[in-house]
Subunit: 393 residues, 2 copies
Amino acid sequence: MATTGTDLSRMREMNMLSIVWALRGNPPSTVTELAGRAGLSRPAVDVLVQSLVTDGWAEVEEPGANSVVGRPARRFRFRADAGHVLGIDIGVHKILVMLSDLEGNLVHTLRRPVDPEAAPEARFAAVDRAIDKVLRSAGMAPADIWAVTVGVTGPVDASGRTTISTPLPGWLTADPVAHLAARFACPIQVENDCKLAAVAERWKGVASDADDIVFLLAGLRTGAGLILDGALRRGHGGAAGEIGALKAVRWLSAPAHLETCPGVPATAAPGEAAAWVFQAARDGDRQARTAVRRYTRDLAVGVAALVLALDPQVVVYGGGFSRSADVVLEPLRQELTKHCLRLPELRASTLGDESVALGAVRLALDEVDSRLLSDGLAAPTAPRRDTSRNDAN
Amino acid sequence: MATTGTDLSRMREMNMLSIVWALRGNPPSTVTELAGRAGLSRPAVDVLVQSLVTDGWAEVEEPGANSVVGRPARRFRFRADAGHVLGIDIGVHKILVMLSDLEGNLVHTLRRPVDPEAAPEARFAAVDRAIDKVLRSAGMAPADIWAVTVGVTGPVDASGRTTISTPLPGWLTADPVAHLAARFACPIQVENDCKLAAVAERWKGVASDADDIVFLLAGLRTGAGLILDGALRRGHGGAAGEIGALKAVRWLSAPAHLETCPGVPATAAPGEAAAWVFQAARDGDRQARTAVRRYTRDLAVGVAALVLALDPQVVVYGGGFSRSADVVLEPLRQELTKHCLRLPELRASTLGDESVALGAVRLALDEVDSRLLSDGLAAPTAPRRDTSRNDAN
DNA sequence: ATGAATTAGTAAACTGCTCAGCATTATCCA
DNA sequence: TGGATAATGCTGAGCAGTTTACTAATTCAT
């Protein structure tokens, strides 16, 4: 709690930022509205917003048709297109690149399938092509990007490496930060996919009202991401949420209950097998229902461990299996009731497989915001990454 | 991230607080030193500290023996005795009351044994007597107390009740806040004992350097308290850390391995039995070592679940058994190595059974600080509790 | 069409804070 | 006793935001 002294210039900077916050994410606003939102007087807001306009952070919209009485007000709009960020999901089967403006509006999205067996070099090459395509479609250069966040499977350490375990072949030696640094001078961040999905769920998903969230990435692999007190919980070594590694938690083998369910067509791929079982369970097939129940039972142990450890407000069921949440949530609730002291709300994700890239976008935007908070807002330009981070070879 | 606008008066308040922060916990300081610490100019600090003195928050120490050349500087000292807080541990076997000044110096400590079977009324009566005695010895009245925090066993909800489970007989219907409110008009807080002990370890204990801590309260009961990103993690319903409730985690039965160890003198009380086993294990007794290993194995599952879920920097082994940490920590480390992805540091608590009351003091001081931050610092007087909280009958 | 009502924009006066610089004061040391 | 040194006290300049009052632009009712 080291409060540090303030002077006038810092105060002006803070008030400037409070205007930006009040401007962003709202429809074009009048000075009076902004004054109310930011808790400042009208004249003060006037000069602040004036200088935001000259700096290029905001723009005026001259009054047009106006149905209220009185002199029509100019409306100011945050220039969301002053900068952009990239959110990238490097998955096992697909690569998803999202280009977003500073307000979080998605300007461009590109999905590309990728060979699950592809080596890191091939995967990076596919990522590069996807990025190129997105930038080209948007008419932008890498220098126009203010921050990049990448999501990968497996726990990620502070340098962006995945050193413990990952289903991506050869990824233990891959260094995404170094690879992207060759093209982007802006801050680059790598984060675990479950954590990013959790962030997305709180941003634009089903848990936007909650501050304490356990997010479950359920699919052929199972993982978890935690948001506590509104902030992403990374863990001291970046490995928070890896409860699946506990032997008593059978997350590794849980999906097998679905794949080995009697009656699954022999031709089905692993992911399709699970979908078939869920559908069959929905239709009342006894064996399928049993398989789902067994899957749920294994799943529940790990969820219960997280719930007991953290006592969250909401558990979000997301990932590839979340489309079948209707047949999973109720049995899961029953299992959790057995284990937990206090049952949190259970919700199904609606973001589907875009959640990871979306969370990456949000984290990149957060990075931009934190720069603004610490460095203040000069004219809008792409920030440069700390060179001190490059020594992480 | 709702930054709100600031004006001059707020700025002065913040600078005033930054002076208080710079003053507190330091030896009497000169204006120049304070200016450096607070990042303000010397004249500014001068008038601020002046008004702190007239308000009663600080006092001057006229220069005495001074070995440096030049005009001797006045030194200012935070008036830590301007207010006091109480930290109270209502345990199964004992009641511990600590009276602390605003700097966290313990002015008075009183420990009283209590019948483990005592009903809430009797326990409250004992608490009242202890408080009376402490206040009398310090020559204070209840009105001189600025905040009270109480530690009890079992998960505590927002109203201070323990509704789920507790080893204190009859406690499910007890309302410590209501009881204390009859005598104290200041803010009253009730918190779980493990959580308070965790706070104490980070404050004055063995984990003062860490921001992510799993604290283990090991004794005849086993519990955990979590500190994440430097803040106490309560959980949405106040039940964070209750991993012991999971069936796969055998925390309830774990201490039984010690009590049923062959060779324990039949006359020993439960607590003494464990101590005897630890001592025997230390002396090389095979059966005792086996019992300790079994105890540790059960303990480790729950710890591993917390470590995997949160990836903390440090695990602190505290509680009644922490005196025997020397025979527990090494086997515990070995067990954790089997379960965990990344092994955190393992440390033994040194605060003994004072940790709960000490954590209560820290939380009471935090309450005082947060009032200062939100309400600003008028003349130092005891704050009054929000009456809006009394409706929780 | 005209004036009242209403709201937005703008200018001036005022408050309160920080800061830079200089004069003053208290102490040590030769 | 007279420098040297370092802290204190004071004054004026500058700055940001608030308040107040006034002017400008628009709608609505008469």
